[in-house]
């Protein structure tokens, strides 16, 4: 054993609060320490995932109180896969923003990296925890640092976007707490496995009310329509890498929470169809909204919302293929959307309005960045031979296996819409004349390395999808096996 899951929460929290003190010793430590911590956590998560794939899930008991009394952390193949993904993206976001503005002085860098660490810690905590109130606390840690990161730039309208986010997030947390208390008042426990074990004793009316509160609360974080009003503004006004962190880390954690509640805890019939419906509505509305956006980051935000809708649809099939497709989509979306945010924010670096027309002709000045943006655009639409093709194909086969022909048709139509608005941007980058007033900004070396790594991963998954499908199959099997989860957690002895 190389480490335990509790280190994923303890080390970054400790480091986040030590950063200001370390910054007093040497200012550069503010930037270096988060990178070291994230590198260590990435290595640890890969090691633990390897261990879990070979020997079964690890359940960590906190402070010696065995479940169902105490808090426990569960590192299964499913949650472990997401933890690896989040720590990896966190490391990339750190590397990208290491010096993303040369004139960022000490204090903004301190706050930025502190909040980034908290954001990653909270999201990883949501995925690892086995206790619903603990999950509420982690969701609040994630949300509060997300509010702060959204309002990071003082010059833009970021405070307005962040205030909108605070309003929705605060109501979300109220609903979440209410749902938790409905369960607690009926079952007298907060442990997920114990709840799942005894949920059938709860009256259906209480179950439905608490499920609705859960989905509403988590839907605000997971950008489900019509609860996603905060998302386009927050993505557009936050710094570029933070948009990647939202799309790759925060939203993934919220979707994980919805899926954990739907698959493991509640035994309501019909919720899977409900997921398909809200997923389809989110997908269609978001993609049609994306096509009429004038600002690049708002367009990417709507595209991200649409992808999350597709993930929910795939989870809604309820079959092993569906879960596999959903996890594949989550992986691809995290990688590709991060690349799009990373390269896109350099394409509109010096424009104040960040409009799509301002990327005109950038390919001559920023050839590699433009090429990577185009690669990301083609990959997310699902053109072969890039990574996105395989995930969309697996969604299609999963839909066909479940006899959902209408869903297949709708997803394909929406893909065409997606193709239209991404090709519009790529077309402007390559075939339009540049406007004279906008000065292109060359990416820093570390940003370039990060983007190239992401591009390489997209190509590797595209040409050799077997590199990840093995892990994804095991992760989806671990999510589907509900009774094993319950038994494994509840059978722990001190």
């Amino acid at each position: 054993m190389v480490g335990t899951p509790v280190l994923f929460i303890a080390i970054p929290l400790l480091a986040a609060f030590l950063i200001p003190l370390l910054g007093m010793i040497w200012k550069e430590l503010v930037r270096i320490v988060p990178g070291l911590v994230l590198t260590y956590l990435l290595i640890l998560s890969v090691n633990l995932l390897n261990h879990v794939l070979a020997h079964g899930p690890i359940v960590e008991v906190i402070a010696g109180w065995v479940p169902p009394i105490g808090i426990n952390l569960v590192f299964s193949a499913f949650s472990g896969f997401l933890v690896v993904l989040m720590e990896f993206l966190g490391l990339l976001v750190w590397a990208y923003s290491y010096r993303f503005k040369r004139n960022v002085d000490y204090e903004p860098a301190l706050k930025y990296f502190l909040m980034l660490m908290m954001l990653i810690t909270g999201s990883v905590g949501i995925v690892l925890t086995g206790d619903i109130f603990n999950m509420f606390v982690f969701i609040e840690i994630t949300s509060i640092s997300a509010y702060g990161l959204t309002a990071f730039y003082k010059g833009r309208n970021s405070a307005e976007a962040s205030f909108k986010y605070v309003m929705m997030g605060s109501i979300a947390s109220t609903f979440l707490l209410l749902a938790i208390m409905i369960i607690y008042s009926q079952l007298g426990t907060l442990n997920m496995a114990d709840i799942a074990n005894r949920i059938h004793t709860m009256k259906p009316a209480y179950k439905i009310v608490s499920y609705i509160f859960f989905v509403t609360a988590l839907g605000i974080e997971a950008e489900i329509f019509p609860l996603n009003g905060w998302a386009p503004d927050a993505y557009a006004e936050a710094p570029g890498p933070v948009g990647a962190a939202f799309a790759g880390i925060v939203v993934k954690a919220a979707v994980y929470a919805i899926i954990r509640y739907t698959y493991t805890i509640f035994d309501l019939s019909g919720t899977l169809n409900f997921l398909i419906i809200i997923g389809m509505v989110t997908l269609i509305i978001a993609e049609t909204a994306a096509i009429r956006q004038e600002k690049l980051k708002r367009m990417l935000a709507y595209s991200s919302i649409g992808q999350m809708g597709l993930v929910l649809v795939a989870f809604g099939f309820g079959t092993k293929e569906g879960v596999f497709a959903a996890l594949f989509l989550m992986l691809n979306h995290a990688i590709i959307k991060s690349l799009l945010f990373f390269s896109g924010s350099y394409l509109v670096y010096n424009s104040t309005e960040k409009r799509i027309v301002e990327v005109n002709g950038m390919s001559k000045y920023l050839p590699i960045t433009s090429l990577l943006f185009a690669l990301g655009a083609f990959a997310i639409v699902g053109l072969p031979p890039f990574a996105g093709f395989w995930s969309k194909l697996s969604v299609m086969t999963a839909a066909a296996d479940s006899n959902m022909i209408l869903i297949m048709a709708l997803v394909l139509i929406v893909s065409v819409v997606e193709l239209v608005y991404y090709l519009r941007v790529v077309n402007r980058i390559y075939f339009f004349k540049k406007e004279a007033s906008i000065e292109p900004h060359r990416p820093t070396i570390n940003a370039m390395v990060v983007m190239l790594v992401l591009g390489a991963i997209i190509l590797v998954i595209g040409f050799y999808p077997d590199a990840v499908t093995g892990i994804l199959h095991k992760a989806s099997a671990s999510l589907m096996d509900k009774s094993y989860y319950i038994h494994h957690v509840l059978s722990l002895k001190q």
């Binding site: 109130f133 605060s170 938790i180 607690y184």
Partner: protein
């Protein structure tokens, strides 16, 4: 107070908590001033906290504090109110405080940027 005539009083605290939450929701949704919205959000939190404590309480229960009396009269342990919701409320209060602080900081930023607290006049982004 054991008769059915006043039985509804046992549930009055639930009603009050829900009423407080609804008042807060009204403030957050209808009022135009940013400060009143923040106040409304924290009133929702207060109502919810009241509800949570009420869930853990039952009639005639004592405070869940370990003391000498419990050892002598073991039966009184069963008369304790549930301590878990009280612990949860402490956490929820701290979190609500944090969110309110962040929201007020944003209100200050918005006021400096726009010179007004009226939400109708702050619409650079589409609301």
């Amino acid at each position: 107070m054991d008769n059915t005539l006043f039985g509804f009083l046992d549930y009055a605290v639930y009603g009050t908590a829900v009423l407080v939450m609804l008042i807060g929701l009204y403030g957050a949704m209808v009022k135009k001033s940013l400060l009143k919205i923040v106040i409304g959000l924290s009133i929702i939190d207060s109502g919810l906290n009241l509800l949570i404590v009420a869930i853990g309480y039952y009639k005639g229960g004592t405070a869940p504090i370990f003391s000498q009396g419990f050892l002598e009269n073991f039966k009184s342990v069963s008369k304790m109110v549930d301590p878990v919701p009280q612990a949860l409320v402490l956490t929820a209060i701290v979190i609500g405080f944090g969110v309110t602080a962040v929201a007020l900081a944003l209100v200050i930023r918005l006021y400096r940027h726009h010179g007004t607290l009226n939400i109708d006049e702050i619409k650079n982004l589409k609301w």
